[in-house]
């Protein structure tokens, strides 16, 4: 399946693939403009110019300052979570060599969700920030479990995907058990579980920032290895790549990114699945281009989902995770049809 994608990229070099930097730049601009727009709309509308002044810090407009103080962490988180999930998905799809792989599929999301909730319900009144390390550990543990269960003289990609679905279902069952076991604290846990950027502060931003800052550049540097792995195990080994070890390292990076994202935002589905596909469609199969592009698409998806969730039916807030699922699900199913050929 992945071969087909690579072939597609080679066969049809679009304008975007010949001049990737131009399109990448315009996507970047789009994301920034969308961010400012996201800051300016809300319960009180502030003009985008005022918002810009407030962000750079030379304004006395009280309203703009308040808006920025409350909304800025949210927009920054949309960026970071979008980048983390999308890059994580791109790496997983490259490593597992299955276009359907993603943090949701290999159990990271549900594992992190389960662990986070366990802590949240075990110690009521705990600030949401404290959930981060637990969710992180849960995500890593889930991924390790999937890898171990799928391992039979090497872990074939398809078995990882299949076992991942099953392990996700197991954690889902655990999550539901926790929900019914603690019927009185459900609403707090439910909000966190559906994935939302609501009410996050600057400290959440700082929780995820180091992971993104360290791991994403590292992955971009290693993008060559991903291209090599995409050729298949035998060929990659023939080219001198220690296949199993590289695969494990890259998977670890991807899992860490996804887990940190889930830890701060809850389980936001489908971003890690579809952002890499969008990137590959536009920029082709070379990971050096497609990984940064995937990150940008991830950011756009998150900003869009967050804004839609806030703006669709105020004052009700639809969690961003539900919006991404509703938008991403159909796109993924469409992909499934496309890749079936």
């Amino acid at each position: 399946m992945s071969a087909a994608i690579v072939a597609q990229g080679v066969r049809r070099t679009s304008l975007a693939q010949r001049y990737p930097s131009i399109l990448m730049g315009s996507l970047c601009v789009l994301a920034v403009v969308l961010s400012f727009y996201s800051l300016s709309v809300g319960a009180t509308d502030v003009s985008m110019g005022d918002v810009f002044n407030a962000v750079v810090g030379n304004t006395s407009d009280q309203a703009a300052q308040i808006v920025v103080q409350f909304q800025l962490p949210r927009v920054l988180l949309a960026w970071l979570v979008g980048i983390a999930l999308a890059v994580s998905g791109a790496v997983m799809q490259g490593v597992i060599r299955n276009p359907l792989a993603a943090p949701d599929v290999v159990g990271v999301t549900k594992g992190a969700g389960f662990a986070g909730m366990l802590l949240l319900l075990a110690i009521p009144g705990l600030p949401v920030v404290a959930v981060v390390p637990a969710a992180f550990a849960g995500g890593l543990a889930a991924a390790a479990l999937v890898y171990l269960l799928a391992y039979r003289r090497g872990a074939t990609p398809v078995r990882i995907a299949l076992v991942g679905i099953a392990v996700s279902a197991a954690f889902e069952a655990g999550i539901r058990f926790l929900l019914v076991r603690n019927p009185l604290d459900v609403s707090a846990a439910l909000i966190w579980l559906t994935g939302s950027l609501f009410g996050r502060s600057m400290s959440s931003v700082l929780e995820i920032l180091p992971w993104v800052l360290v791991l994403v550049p590292l992955i971009v540097i290693w993008s060559r290895k991903l291209d090599v792995l995409g050729l298949g195990d035998d060929l990659a080994a023939g080219l001198g790549e220690p296949v199993e070890r590289t695969r494990r390292m890259l998977l670890l990076f991807a899992v860490a990114l996804a887990a940190s994202a889930v830890a701060v935002s809850g389980t936001i589905g489908f971003v890690g699945l579809i952002a890499p596909h969008m990137a590959r469609r536009v920029f082709g199969g070379k990971h050096l281009a497609s990984i940064p592009a995937a990150a940008l698409f991830g950011v756009l998806l998150m900003l869009f989902a967050d804004m839609l969730g806030r703006g669709l039916a105020p004052p009700l807030e639809i969690p961003a995770g539900l919006v991404t699922a509703v938008v991403g699900g159909p796109y993924f199913l469409y992909l499934l049809v496309k890749t079936g050929k």
């Binding site: 799928a150 299949l162 069952a173 009700l316 969690p319 509703v326």
Partner: protein, 351 residues
Amino acid sequence: MSVDTVVKPAQDAVHKRPKIVTSRQRVTWVSLALLVVVVAGVVWGLSIGSQQISLARLPGAIFRADQPDELILQSIRLPRVVLALLVGAALAVAGALMQAVAANPLAAPEIMGVNAGAVFVVVMAITIVPSLSGAPTILLSFGGAAAAGVAVMLLAGSGGGRVSPVRLALAGVTASSLLISLTQVLIIFDENSADSVLFWLVGGVNFAGWQDIRNLLPWLAVGLVGAFAMARPLNLLALGDDMARGLGQNVERTRMFGSALVIVLCGAAVSVAGPVAFIGLIVPHIMRRLVGSSYTVLLPLCAVAGGVLVLYADIVSRYIKPPFEVPAGVVTALIGAPIFVYLARRQKVTS
């Protein structure tokens, strides 16, 4: 269901794998064991709860209601036990049918998105018309189940040829999570209580009433009788499409009827009990281990075993957090998920 009707002459059966040809004796033992378990479960399920009812008083209390706890028994616990048995039977038989029709060991109502489709449509209908209940709900539930199932099958099968378990699982799980998300959005808009959220996400029989059983029963009868009548064609289908055609089977027709029965069984069960998880996946696998893969024997025994599983899950769920009522679907999910992991791990996969 009496034991005698379950046991059919062994030569009737066509077996896919000769090594699990089961003796009539074994089937008899399994049937007897199931019968004992059912009776024990019914007695247990009737007697425990926030109000204990002693065994000695059970027989009398079923038929007349002078005391408050006898009223509890008749109006709350009895329908709950009966509904558990019925819903379990429906989902387990639907799972066995699905695995036969799709020729795919991971095909099951909850994995193929059928349950999620039914739930979504039912919740949508209830959101729009809050007073909706009974037959219209069940019909809508059929619609949702059918649409989701057909969509997932088409999506997974779009590659042509035999649908791989992985594609099926991926397409089904994605469609399910999409539908569940949409259901959650609906529930948020409706600002329902956490109770109903849990019911439609997890499923259970803790709100069961006689009306539910009256609504379910006709559809269940159609579905189960139809399924049992299809045992022979399904046995032939298990030999592979070409062989079945060679033996004079209309393979497409068998598939279509089988799928229609799955929709009826799942749609009806989900509309009254929510998406009780994993019954359709695990019960057929367990029973196939015990009595072999002849559908003549397998389908009736799956029906009983499915009922047993939901009944016991419901009983266990009453112990989880008394006095809160916990949906039985939580317990079946906890039992089923590890078995799902085991089945997924066992799949022979080629990349």
